[in-house]
Symmetry: C2
DNA sequence: ATCTTATATCGCAAATATACGATGAATATG
DNA sequence: CATATTCATCGTATATTTGCGATATAAGAT
């Protein structure tokens, strides 16, 4: 009974939360950073850089892919990933709508 | 052995991840939205709006406070919360540095 | 002083996340 | 064909998160 009440919130709230969740681990931030910098797709170089086992990195990549933040294709025996910029655009616009627009009006804090 | 390897990443990566984590639940997004819209501090109105028990809401508020996204003060028997805009500014600038600046250069996707 | 109201905290149960090693699948390379 | 390489997935252990009810706390009202 009564766990996982996420579906009781609006779709936008859930989407924003899902995006944030995908970024809620330093390893995944680090992966995104690498992909953003190199543009060209990368595979197991990520494993070499991160202080994590290969299987763990693979799991993080899967989560990012499921959340839609990256896309990946198989290239023979290796896998190639890159950032899905559209998802970042969407997040940015929703984030700004929610917070940054309001910020301008309500700069004065109360507590 | 070998859980919680978060401290092996850079401080910026950890900070960004911590901010994202604070926003990684629709209830907390919803709370932040309310606080952003009303500017003026709010207390247990949040409990009335959210589909969650009072103790659960209190816990979410505590997490947001610990992450530095909101600040709260006790006002007699009630508590008053509001958004910490500075934290959002910091997140926004780090997020943009990491992703949006690079986006302009590397619009062409590879996979 | 007692009662009410508003909120925080504690203790618990269930779900989810994090991490690893082992194994599997698929393609190269010898 | 046998073997190595690259990566995904499975199984498992532990940690963390989410949620609730019960209880504690603290100020205001009666």
């Amino acid at each position: 009974m009564a766990f996982h009440k996420k579906e009781e919130f609006t779709q936008k709230e859930q989407d924003l939360a899902a995006f944030a969740k995908a970024m809620s681990h330093p390893a995944r931030i680090s992966i995104l950073k690498m992909l953003a910098q190199r543009n060209e797709c990368i595979c197991g170089e990520i494993v070499d850089v991160l202080p994590l086992a290969q299987s763990t990195v693979s799991q993080h990549l899967k989560e990012l892919k499921n959340a839609g933040l990256i896309s990946g294709t198989v290239e023979g025996p290796r896998s190639c990933y890159c950032i899905n910029w559209k998802a970042f655009e969407k997040f940015n616009s929703e984030f700004n709508t929610l917070f940054n627009n309001l910020k301008i009006k309500n700069e004065k804090a109360c507590c």
